[in-house]
């Protein structure tokens, strides 16, 4: 099964050598800034900046584009209708009974750029430090321990539950089930979702038992050791400064 987070490559790069705490803090602030953008120029600049980070992180291009295309396809389902349903007093192009608005097109482009830039920042964060180092960095940045554990277990069990779902789908298919727009199909999908939830709950309980048997007391521990260097501070200042600059451009523009 291939998911967005599957097979994290962890390439050796300029960014992978940085202290995960500084990197996580800078990327979190940059992500927040990108989420706040509302002009196309700023979003395009953010995407350009994110691509620069991809280059600095030495992410395998094919791996990166594959993950990006998954989100792009998902986005397409929503943004493709925006130019036809969002209108203002600005120019528009009549297309038969529909009207393609320039404003709607800009909103669609803005949403797409922001989403792709956000995913890029997340991927850069996940692939330039090991997950345990990132989680320990999050903990040392005072992210609540419960959230850190949830992140760790979610990452792990996305795959286990995904595999469970695959098995359930195969079990349905071999018994002649085909997804159709019928009451029977919807009922079956509902039962599968229910079975997955129940199995997920039971598994969570067993995982909890296994963790306690290995001395887990609710605190997250990792072997990762952190040391701040000038490069870490420089990266933080540049990334956060860049993000602040984008917000300033918007404010002034």
């Amino acid at each position: 099964m291939t998911l967005a987070l599957d097979h994290l490559p962890y390439p050796d790069s300029l960014l992978s050598r940085l202290d995960p705490r500084w990197k996580l803090a800078a990327l979190a602030l940059a992500t927040l800034s990108v989420a706040l953008l509302h002009t196309l120029t700023a979003a395009a600049l953010a995407m350009a900046g994110a691509l620069l980070l991809v280059a600095l992180a030495a992410l395998p291009l094919q791996w990166y584009l594959y993950r990006l295309s998954g989100l792009a396809l998902f986005l397409l389902l929503f943004v493709v209708v925006l130019p036809f349903i969002l209108h203002d007093e600005g120019p528009s192009l009549p297309l038969g009974s529909l009207r393609l608005s320039w404003y709607g097109l800009r909103v669609a482009a803005l949403l797409s750029l922001k989403a792709l830039a956000l995913l890029t920042l997340v991927l850069v964060g996940l692939t330039t430090s090991s997950l345990s180092a990132t989680l320990k960095a999050a903990r040392s940045l005072h992210v609540p321990g419960l959230l850190v554990q949830l992140a760790m277990l979610s990452y792990r069990y996305i795959f286990v539950l995904g595999a469970e779902l695959s098995r359930l789908r195969i079990a349905l298919r071999v018994r002649g089930f085909r997804n159709r727009a019928s009451k029977h199909s919807y009922q079956t999908i509902g039962h599968v979702a229910g079975a997955l939830l129940v199995r997920g709950y039971e598994r969570a309980e067993r995982v909890g038992h296994a963790m306690r048997c290995r001395g887990f007391d609710g605190r997250f521990r990792s072997l990762a050791e952190f040391r701040t260097t000038t490069a870490d501070c420089l990266f933080f200042v540049l990334l956060v400064g860049g993000a602040a600059l984008l917000l300033l451009i918007e404010f002034l523009g």
């Binding site: 097979h7 760790m152 792990r156 598994r203 038992h209 306690r212 048997c213 001395g215 990792s222 072997l223």
Partner: protein, 265 residues
Amino acid sequence: MSQDTTARQNLPMQPELAIGVQNLTFAYPGGPVALDHVSFEADPGESIGLVGPNGAGKTTLFLCLSGVLPVKKGSVQLAGLDPTDAAQRRALPAKAGIVFQNSDDQLFNATVFDDVAFGPLNLGYPVHEVKQRVAEALAQVGLTGFEQRVPFHLSGGEKRRVALAGVLAMRPEILFLDEPSSYLDPRSRRELIRLINNLTVTKVVAAHDLELVRETCRRVLVLDGGRIVGDGPMRTILADARLMEEHGLEVPHSLTRHVDKHHED
């Protein structure tokens, strides 16, 4: 119940025992009694097979012994620790480890190294000690070089060995193995048997795979309906056709009387 068990039940618990269980009774909330006056003892280094039909209470017994499920009736001692005492229960993971039936329940870190290191880190060992324990445990299960592999991309046999390494890295005095051969192919199963036999700690192996029990254990407990209904030397118990049949089990093929002698043992 065999005479051996009855005799053991009447003995006072001895501090040098690896496992001492007396009249352990447990019921899940709103459910029937899962363990009913279970009593047995194990000496350090002893290797015990725990057999019984589905729902006999084998996993529940392991969870009670390891302090995961609360022991309210009866008494339990593992390596001198009492799981009913909160402070002693916290020290229990360093003394007793469980390898669960489904390795996916046990492996949750991003790399094999992180997963094996999880237990020693929780026990508070320094970095160099953790690294040494991880290296030793992986070597013990024959997975040196797998440190940076992703656990959920391993084969069933490799996952089982990583799960075992995760417990061995804590260097427990007592090891509980729950259905260790499930999901394993014959080669992985053979390797696992060799591995279990090389471990010198006290072992309790719960299994439906009676051939595995025959090869790894010298004593066998039969659990059915939450009660211990048989306790004795491996050959005596496993070759007892009536006992086995009465409790939903069967005599392993290698211990059956052969008309046509097609193997040596």
